[in-house]
């Protein structure tokens, strides 16, 4: 039923303005694939090229082995869920969901049966005869989802479907979508700018910037071993420090200002000599202590957020880094406290000085 989607050297232009210069990608059969990136990166453009609302200026898009470039959108058999849901306001929930089936000339009895079935799956069977006008965002979203999957599409596309919902409902719908996708087993392409949503929902994520896929991989891989500095800063938060590689006691590692050396045993062969590097350290990859070994620093400010406490610490060279640790009972480090920072060497990432290449082993990037 569902298919794989291949992009071969895709080009998108609006007039002389190139949005996507040259993009290739393969989305697997049955996979939940998320396009993630800042607004204007071309992710929605790419999504709309899959269904055919946007023209293709170069390259080919194929479902399994058949090229769909010239197939009109209404014949591509794709289900789509829109950011504003795009529910037909003059039809009841049942009529909305039946719309695609009627266009496919499905027999009446079967339409009824399939509509009832899918409304149960998305848990709004009680709303079947209601008009969508006064329904909540979450309910409308379920209608949109039911309407898109009831036609048994080859591919399901979702364009920021949760961005109009409030935070709590967003998490609930996120889990519902993931659950339904698993049950239906349909190839799904999902667009979002919300990285937490992407991490939670996807089998694989494609991080886009400037019309180029920066990193395609599993949520874990993208977070833990980002392919370049853009990915490392876009997904989660990272402190970026300009440092040098060095060798000490036969071990290669990173040399901090003030002489603190962090040995690393997972650097690739490209990391050589004492080349200049950008080191990316996430706040949770620091261990803050008031005594012992480590980088010297001074607390600038501490912010209590319940589960965690964020501390901003000024290093010897004046750089301020953000750290995060589990909150302790009744103690916040006051500003001015002298602290020592340890680094979890196995977790941090080291990039070439231009930020384009990760020098740590374990990057899995299906882009390129």
């Amino acid at each position: 039923m569902s298919v794989s989607i291949s992009f071969q050297n895709i080009v998108k232009k609006y007039g002389d303005n190139t949005i996507i210069p040259n993009l290739s990608l393969k989305i697997r059969d049955g996979e939940f694939f998320t396009l993630l990136g800042p607004s204007g990166c071309g992710k929605t453009t790419l999504l709309r090229m899959i269904i055919g609302f946007n023209s293709i200026e170069g390259g080919q898009i194929s479902f399994d082995d058949s090229v769909v470039n010239d197939v009109p959108p209404s014949k591509r058999n794709i289900g789509m869920v829109f950011q504003n849901y795009a529910i037909f306001p003059h039809m009841t929930v049942g009529e909305n969901v039946a719309f695609g089936l009627k266009n496919r000339k499905v027999p009446k009895a079967e339409i009824q049966q399939r509509v009832d079935e899918i409304l149960k799956v998305v848990r709004i069977d009680n709303l079947k005869d209601r008009l969508p006008q006064n329904m909540s965002g979450g309910q409308q979203q379920r209608v949109a989802l039911a309407r898109a999957i009831v036609i048994h599409p080859q591919v399901l596309l979702m364009d920021e479907p949760l961005s109009n919902l409030d935070a709590k409902l967003r998490v609930e719908m996120r889990d519902a979508i993931r659950d339904i996708q698993h049950r239906v087993g349909i190839t799904t392409v999902y667009v979002t700018h919300d990285q937490e949503e992407a991490l939670a929902i996807s089998d694989r994520i494609g991080v886009m910037n400037g019309g180029v896929l920066q990193h395609v991989g599993t949520p874990q891989n993208i977070y833990q071993r980002p392919a370049n500095i853009f990915v490392s800063t876009f997904i989660g938060h990272s402190n970026i420090l300009d440092l040098h590689l060095a060798d000490r006691d036969g071990k290669r590692g990173v040399l901090f200002d003030g002489g603190h050396f962090v040995p690393m045993d997972n650097l690739t062969d490209r990391a050589s000599g004492n080349q200049q590097v950008k080191v990316s350290i996430r706040p949770e990859e620091f261990i803050v202590s008031t005594d012992g070994e480590g980088l010297e620093g001074e607390v600038v400010d501490s912010i209590f957020l319940g589960l965690h406490t964020h501390s901003y610490i000024r290093l010897l060279n004046g750089t301020v880094v953000e750290t995060v640790s589990e909150s302790r009972i009744n103690t916040l480090l006051p500003a001015g406290t002298k602290v020592r920072l340890q680094v979890k060497a196995e977790k941090i990432n080291v990039f070439t000085a231009d930020g384009n290449t990760n020098l740590v082993q374990g990057v899995v990037n299906d882009a390129v």
Partner: protein
């Protein structure tokens, strides 16, 4: 796989072509005919003789000056009456507001010349009010004819346009703007002048333009109440229609002069409005508050007085329709004789009115929604040009439209003269701009993703339009269409040139009966006309469940 041509010829391409063709045939062609006719004759070739003739004789130029004078005064007066009416009815609780609003709409919808005729009945040489002024107050008053009469009729007829425009704008003005201004120490009149008026100014200007165009183009009113006061539409009509000495080319030249004037005004209004337009939408619209003391009394007196005066002609007509007549004179006693005669004489005109207006409105709605769709959703050079083209009827006075259609379609193979088709075409062309504007505005509110959703579910472009887009647009389009329908049945300026005996409509029948002096029948017919509009309006209110009509 073979690559297909990039732009497929789909249903919308055909629609675009058909609509463009319609406008080329029924608008561009007739109007260019009139332009050519004004500077070209078979004998002499190119000539400016007709324009020279116009500008060399005060007899003609005075008509132009008169038109300007009366139209400017009317516009100012209508704004001065309509704006406070709208503001008061929006902000002060007025007793019987719902009824007042319907009365305002009714007074706007009846053809202006019926107003003119009733004012002649009341304030003419033999009118009861004139008699009162002369014999009780002993003031010499010769009846309200000429400039004053035209001014009175137009003002009372056209201020409702300003009222409706301003009322709509005020509805979109958030009350927090008033509260903000109050908190900054700006209250009362100073708030109205510093905050409210500047915000509604663009709306006021477009309302004024519409009033100006209507007053400038109206033919029936100055014809009936103007007596010696010559204005352009009357001049055009006479030049074109009079059996001796009538001159098509000269009438064409006069038409061109009118069109040039209205075009300049239209562009000026656009320029000013474009510079000063604000987009507003109110989450907390102003609500009508209960006023007390002098303010309350003054507000009620003003509103009731204005509505009373504007509905007076309707009452007069209704009253006289029951009077007995003998030949052309009213005699004592009351009966339904006039109605009997009206139905006997004018049965076909009643049928014609409904058949033509419904045919026209169906066409207007279909063409209007289609054109709105292609100009909003399928932007291209062609649809852009079509968009501009569809604005043209705004600035073409009814009589000019009538003449141009007659000149263009008076011989084979395009012989439409004397048919119902030419009337319907005139109605459609004249009303389309309004429906297209309102439909475009409605369409702009509908997210394109709804249509994309339909396409993604396997519906074709046309099916999407029929099943999804059109039903979503319908409520707004229909309320605009009701308005158009009522304007169509009271149309006179163009149809008075285009009708023949078998295609006479109610409005024309009223007019011709007045001209012939059969006042009783005329009154009965206009009551029938008004009642039809009121019934339709009430049905519409009931069906749509709201009391807002859009222009």
């Amino acid at each position: 796989m073979l690559s297909k041509p990039k732009r497929r010829l789909d249903a919308w391409t055909v629609v675009t072509a058909a609509c463009t063709l319609f406008f080329l045939l029924f608008l561009v062609y007739p109007i260019s005919r009139i332009f050519i006719q004004s500077v070209h004759t078979a004998e002499t070739g190119f000539t400016l003789a007709y324009f020279r003739k116009f500008f060399s004789k005060p007899y003609y130029t005075n008509a132009l000056l008169n038109s300007f004078k009366v139209t400017l005064c009317v516009t100012v007066l209508a704004a001065l009456v309509g704006t406070p009416m709208a503001y008061i009815l929006r902000t002060v609780q007025i007793k019987g507001k719902a009824v007042l609003e319907i009365l305002i709409i009714i007074s706007m919808l009846s053809p202006p010349f019926i107003g003119a005729y009733s004012w002649v009945l009341l304030l003419g040489r033999s009118g009861p009010i004139t008699w009162f002024i002369n014999n009780v107050l002993h003031i010499t008053f010769d009846g309200i004819y000429g400039f004053g009469g035209i001014l009175l009729v137009f003002t009372m007829q056209l201020y409702p346009l300003i009222y409706m425009y301003i009322s709509g704008a005020l509805k979109n003005m958030d009350d927090s703007l008033n509260e903000a201004s109050e908190s900054l120490g700006c209250v009362g009149l100073s708030r109205i002048f510093k905050v409210v008026l500047p915000l509604i100014l663009p709306t006021l200007l477009s309302g004024c333009l519409l009033v100006f165009m209507r007053a400038l183009a109206d033919f029936g009113t100055p014809m009936l109440i103007g007596e010696g006061y010559r204005v352009m539409p009357v001049l055009i009509f006479n030049e074109f229609i009079s059996e001796m000495g009538g001159n098509d080319s000269f009438a064409a030249a006069l038409s061109v002069i009118m069109v040039i004037i209205t075009t300049v005004l239209f562009l000026a209004q656009r320029y000013i409005s474009g510079k000063k337009s604000f987009s507003m939408s109110a989450t907390h619209p102003m609500s009508a508050k209960k006023a007390t003391g002098v303010k309350n009394v003054a507000a009620h007196v003003f509103v009731y007085l204005v509505v009373g005066i504007s509905i007076l002609p309707q009452l007069t007509v209704a009253f006289t329709s029951f009077k007995n007549t003998s030949g052309r004179l009213f005699v004592d006693g009351y009966s339904l004789n006039s109605y009997r005669e009206a139905f006997g004489k004018m049965g076909t005109s009643i049928v014609n009115t409904f058949v033509y207006s419904i045919a026209a409105i169906v066409l207007v709605v279909i063409l209007g929604t289609l054109i709105a769709y292609i100009t909003v959703r399928r932007r291209s050079k062609v649809t852009g040009a079509l968009d501009t083209l569809t604005m043209m009827p705004y600035i073409i006075p009814g009589s000019v439209m009538g003449i141009s259609l007659l000149m263009a379609f008076n011989k084979q193979p395009l012989m439409l003269m004397g048919t119902a088709a030419i009337l319907i075409v005139a109605y459609v062309i004249r009303r389309l701009p309004y429906t297209i504007r309102s439909s475009s505005a409605i369409l702009a509110q509908i997210s394109p993703s709804v249509e994309e959703a339909s396409i993604s579910l396997g519906a074709s472009h046309m099916k999407t339009f029929v099943r999804v887009t059109a039903p979503m647009m319908a409520p707004g389009v229909v309320s605009g269409a009701i308005m158009s329908w009522m304007t169509i049945i009271s149309e006179l300026s163009a149809s008075v040139l285009l009708y023949v005996n078998t295609t006479k409509t109610l409005t024309i029948a009223v007019y011709t009966e007045i001209v012939r002096g059969n006042y009783g029948v005329a009154a009965a017919l206009s009551v029938i006309l008004t009642l039809s509009t009121v019934v339709v309006l009430l049905i519409f209110f009931r069906v749509s469940g709201n009391r807002e009509i859009s222009m």
